[in-house]
C-alpha cells in the first residue's frame, strides 16, 4: 500500500536493510497468546513462505504486518510501502475493476495506471468490468493488480490461491513467481500448501503455537520442478514438521 497516510506499526520505525523486522511480538486474544514472542526478519526482495496448521496464528501474523491489527506487544518494523492480497479478492462490488485497482492511491491517479497494472496480470481486457462478472481467478488477479499498483516493497499474500480451482491455481502461482522476479519486492506468502511454498519461496517457515518452529532454505534452482526428487524430499520433510507423516500414509 502506498500508504504514507499510515503510521508504522510501532512508532519507532527506523530505516534498516530489512523489509520486515519483528522481535518479541505477542498478540493475545482473551489472555491466550496466539502469537508468542515471535521473531522474524525478511530481507528486501526475499520470498518467504509461511506454513502452518490452521489456527497456528499465521493469518494473525500477516494481519499484524499489514497494520490491520495493532493490539500487539513487542517490536514490529514493516516497510511503509506494503500491499496485501487476501484469500477472498475483496473487490468493492460497486466499483469497476479499474477503479478498484486505483482505490486508495494518493492524488488523482489516471486510468492508464490501472491499465498498466491490469495488463501486467493479464487482465487488461476486463478493465471496465464489474467485479460480479469476473471469474474467481480473474478476481484474484485483479486483487493482485490492486496490490502491485502500489509498487510495494513488501507484498503480503494471505492464501491468495486457496479458493481457486487446481488449474487456475497453477497459473496464478506462476504469475506470482514472475511478478516477484520482475518487481523484486519482498513477499510473505501465507499458505497451507507445502508444494506451493517450496515451489515459490527462498525460505519456508513453519509456524507452530505462535512461534516460528522451523525454518528451511530452499536451495533448488528456479524454475523448480515438482518431479525433482530433492523437491519431493523437501516437501516430505516439511510435511513431517507440520505433523503429517507421509511415510506412514504411504504404507
Amino acid at each position: 500500500m502506498a500508504t504514507d497516510v499510515h503510521r508504522p506499526v510501532t512508532p519507532t520505525a527506523n530505516r534498516s536493510a530489512r523489509a520486515v523486522h519483528v522481535e518479541g511480538l505477542t498478540r493475545s486474544f482473551d489472555g491466550r497468546a496466539v502469537i508468542d514472542d515471535l521473531r522474524l526478519d525478511i530481507a528486501p526482495g526475499e520470498f518467504v513462505a509461511l506454513l502452518g496448521r490452521s489456527g497456528c496464528g499465521k493469518s494473525t501474523l500477516l494481519r499484524i504486518l499489514a497494520g490491520l491489527d495493532r493490539d500487539i506487544e513487542g517490536t514490529a518494523l514493516v516497510s511503509r510501502r506494503r500491499a496485501v492480497a487476501f484469500q477472498a479478492p475483496r473487490l468493492m462490488p460497486w466499483k469497476k475493476v479499474w477503479r478498484n485497482v486505483l482505490l486508495g492511491l494518493p492524488g488523482r491517479p489516471e486510468r492508464a495506471v490501472a491499465e498498466r497494472a491490469l495488463d501486467e496480470v493479464g487482465l487488461g481486457h476486463r478493465i471496465d468490468a464489474w467485479p460480479k462478472t469476473l471469474s474467481g481467478g480473474e478476481a484474484q488477479r485483479a486483487s493482485l493488480a490492486r496490490a502491485l499498483v502500489r509498487e510495494p516493497d513488501l507484498l503480503l499474500l494471505d492464501e491468495p490461491f486457496g479458493a481457486l480451482d487446481a488449474l487456475t491455481r497453477i497459473k496464478a502461482q506462476r504469475l506470482v513467481g514472475e511478478l516477484w522476479q520482475r518487481r523484486g519486492c519482498a513477499v510473505l506468502l501465507v499458505t497451507h500448501d507445502v508444494e506451493e511454498a517450496v515451489l515459490l519461496a527462498d525460505r519456508v517457515l513453519v509456524m507452530d503455537s505462535g512461534r516460528i518452529a522451523h525454518e528451511e532454505r530452499v536451495g533448488l534452482d528456479r524454475p523448480r520442478d515438482i518431479a525433482d526428487p530433492r523437491f519431493a524430499g523437501l516437501c516430505a520433510r516439511l510435511l513431517e514438521r507440520l505433523g503429517v507423516d507421509t511415510a506412514s500414509e504411504a504404507a
Binding site: A66, A83, L103
Partner: protein
C-alpha cells in the same frame, strides 16, 4: 405432465429403427432395447393465449360486471358510481382544471415532506451509523419515537402548527423519516467488514472509507428505505389532507363526501393509486441505475 412408461413387456419396440441397429451379434450378451421417451420442449406445450391477455382478462371481467350491476340498477349510484360515469367525471375534473390543481397541491406536499423526511432520516442514520457516540445518543430516542403511530400526532400538530400547510407536511415528514432511518442505519451497519478491512489496507482515510466503502455499501438498504418511505408518504398525505384542507386531492374527496359524489371519490382514489405507482416506478428506475453492480441484480 404425466410420466408414463410403456409396459416393459410391450411386444413391439417403440422405436423400431434404433432397435434394429442394436441387433446383437453372436456371442454378445443380449441387451433389450431400452424404452425411449420423447422429451417435448416445454415451449410447444404452452397454450396459445398470451400471458398478458390472460392476466388482463380478470380485471376487465370485474369491470364489466361492475358496469352491468350499475346499469341494471342493482348497484345504486350513491353507493358506488358506474365505471362509465367515473370515467366521464374524471374527464370533466381534468377538463375544468380542478383535478390537475388538486394534484399539484398534493404533489407539493408530498415532495416537501419527502425532502425533509429524507434529509432528517438519512442524516440521523449517518450520525448513528458512522459514530459510536452518535449511536448511543440518537438510536435509542429514535427507536422509541418510532413506535408512536404518527397519525396519532395529528391533533398535536394542529395545535402546534395550526391548520395550514405546516401540519400536513410535518405528518408526511414524520412518516417518511423512520423507515429511511432504519434502513440506512441497517445498511451502514451491514457493510461487509472484510471490505472495510480491505479499504483500510489500501490506505483509505476515515472519510475515504465512508465515501468509497460504507456509503455505496449502504445504498441498497437506503433505496429499500426510500421505497417504504414513498408508500408511507402517500398514506400520510391521505390522512393529512382529510383534516382541514382547502386544496388538494383529499379536499376534493371530503367535498365529494359532503355531496354524496361517489364518482368523484373513486376518481380521487384512482389518482392516489396512480401517483403511488409512479413513485414506485421512479424508485425502481433509481435502483436500476444505481445498483447495477449488484450480483443479485436481476431487474433488467
Amino acid at each position: 405432465m404425466s410420466i408414463s412408461h410403456a409396459p416393459p413387456s410391450s411386444p413391439e419396440p417403440d422405436i423400431s429403427g434404433i432397435s434394429k441397429s442394436v441387433e446383437t451379434g453372436p456371442g454378445q450378451p443380449e441387451h433389450s432395447a431400452p424404452d425411449l421417451q420423447p422429451l417435448v420442449p416445454a415451449s410447444t406445450r404452452r397454450t396459445r393465449v398470451p400471458r398478458w391477455l390472460r392476466r388482463t382478462a380478470g380485471p376487465l371481467l370485474l369491470l364489466a360486471l361492475w358496469q352491468l350491476l350499475s346499469g341494471t340498477g342493482m348497484l345504486a349510484s350513491d353507493v358506488l358510481a358506474s365505471p362509465g360515469r367515473i370515467a366521464q367525471v374524471g374527464w370533466d375534473l381534468v377538463a375544468d382544471g380542478s383535478l390537475p390543481s388538486a394534484m399539484g397541491t398534493s404533489l407539493q406536499r408530498v415532495a416537501a415532506g419527502l425532502l425533509f423526511g429524507t434529509v432528517i432520516g438519512t442524516g440521523l442514520a449517518l450520525v448513528s451509523g458512522l459514530f459510536r457516540i452518535g449511536e448511543d445518543l440518537v438510536d435509542a430516542p429514535v427507536q422509541m419515537l418510532r413506535t408512536v403511530p404518527f397519525v396519532g400526532l395529528i391533533p398535536l400538530f394542529i395545535i402546534w402548527f395550526g391548520i395550514g400547510e405546516a401540519p400536513k407536511i410535518a405528518i408526511i415528514t414524520l412518516g417518511v423519516t423512520f423507515p429511511l432511518y432504519l434502513n440506512v442505519y441497517a445498511g451502514i451497519r451491514g457493510v461487509d467488514a472484510q471490505l472495510i478491512e480491505a479499504g483500510e489496507s489500501l490506505g483509505l482515510s476515515r472519510w475515504g472509507l465512508v465515501r468509497h466503502v460504507v456509503l455505496p455499501g449502504a445504498l441498497p438498504g437506503a433505496l429499500t428505505g426510500l421505497r417504504y418511505s414513498l408508500g408511507i408518504a402517500w398514506l400520510a398525505l391521505v390522512f393529512a389532507e382529510q383534516v382541514n384542507a382547502d386544496a388538494g386531492i383529499g379536499f376534493l374527496m371530503v367535498q365529494a363526501r359532503d355531496f354524496l359524489r361517489t364518482d368523484v371519490i373513486v376518481v380521487c382514489l384512482i389518482v392516489y393509486a396512480f401517483l403511488g405507482l409512479l413513485a414506485d416506478f421512479i424508485v425502481r428506475s433509481l435502483e436500476r441505475l444505481l445498483l447495477q453492480w449488484r450480483p443479485t441484480f436481476t431487474g433488467r
